[in-house]
Amino acid sequence: MSIQYKTISQLREMIDAKSISSQELVKETLKLAESLKELNCFVTMNKDEGIKKAIEVDGTNTSNSLLKGIPLAQKDLFCTEGLRTTCSSKILADFVPPYTATAVEKLENAGSITIGKTNMDEFAMGSSNETSFFGNVHNPWKKGYVPGGSSGGSAAAVAAGIIPAATGTDTGGSIRQPAAHCGITGIKPTYGRVSRWGMIAFASSLDQAGPLARSAEDCAILLNEMSGYDPKDTTCLNVENTNLLQSINQPIKGLKIGIVKEFNLGDLKAEVQIRFEESKKIYESLGAEFVEISLPSISASVPTYYSIAPAECSSNLSRFDGVRFGYRAKDTDDLNDLYIKSRSEGFGDEVKRRILIGTYALSAGYYDAYYKKAQQVRRLIKNDFEVAFRSIDLIMTPTSPGTAFAFGSKGVQNPVELYLEDLFTISSNLAGLPAISIPHGKVNGLPVGLQLIGNFLKEDLLLNAAHIFQQNSEFHLERPSMEEF
């Protein structure tokens, strides 16, 4: 019996009915990953340890978690004890962490099995997965096309049906945009909802971990486990965790959804607009109401982000110096030369570009004009959301301005072209708000995503609205043919 494209609930039933053991399931999953190796979703497989854990799980009756015995994959920036963690960078190509990230540990404590680490943009810096030291990931819908980024390997592995769900991280859209380009569901929780401990930091005030899966329901199953207070992350929220599955079936009649007038959706490709209008109709038929809202400072999101994120990145990535871990250059003259050569040989071009921009924004004479200014504008953006959420429940936008594109076709001459991919996703990171992307059809044979943004800690409402949409449409059930692989 094929396990490809099974949901968590279906796999759960199969395991509980003893029609498959976790050990068999993990072995089948590894076999499937091997047969689809050409997608390049994985950087490292966890074959022996994964099978060992599955055998252990098969032998215990203590846990009744929905994830018991279920194979998952982790984005390769979550530290995993004893399992290589590269951040898809040459500088960490041989790094084996001595501890496991809290988010992964929580999923594993619930009985899930990590079968591998997924490919990504180097240090999560990119929107196409093309900056990975380990090569491009193919979009399962079209060979030679990007899966989106930075969590591109996780998105492609889920879209190809290898695993039911995977972890990702989202600093400016890195869960939602690849979810949209691969035709799956992905949620970025509220900043502080999931512990960042053990996640290799890119931009600490924006980074947040979350799940990617083929349905809102499966995202809820993962997020239920990943969330929660962690004393090891001082920015982790100490709030009660609601069971996200409990409210997922609530009717959404009367739900007020805002459409942002400043996003000028009329400028998007006609096909993207048509998909958006069709989805509005689905929500209207379910009793939701649409209102136009204004977020006056939203046009500043992209420049604000590209000041703050590089600044935080330049600070966070200063730890990679070739001394305590990571790549060390050979033949260096002195300590300073060791730092310079190790970093210059270890980092790829996009990472260097962002470190340099961040260093510039934080340097004497420019700090007020770029970094402080961006943090002030960030408050304006957050204030706009606060005002808007007084009269609405959710905000709806496309996830991305277009579809997946061919390798090397965007951002080669001018990186700013690729930065605009994040136009609709960045503002929720700046304001710390939760947001979800769900598939809502295809344009020229490639999936497009619909984004819903919620108020602070409203993951339950986001997943509820996404689930109801999926109960009344079939976009999330569409599969790529994958004949090319």
Binding site: G326, R343, K352, L356, Y360, V377
Partner: protein, 93 residues
Amino acid sequence: MDQETVRTICYLARLEIDKDKAEKIENELEAIINLIGGLQAFDTENIEPLYSPLEQKAFKHEDIENSDNKKDEFLKNAAASNDDYFLVPRVVE
């Protein structure tokens, strides 16, 4: 952004740029700085910077000793170490 500024930033970031890529990188940085320059159009007088979306004070850990000594595991990831230390090129003659 002139070449001298790029050289200074590179040194501050401890990064070297290949000579054949220098011009391309200068142009790219220029394009990004122009993008960020768009922020100047926003009036931020009397607006407090928002450094974290949570705006809560970081809490303190309980100061509890634990016996986790992973020295050997940490040293294993270093390119050069002896039993107790990370090794680097000599800094004092």
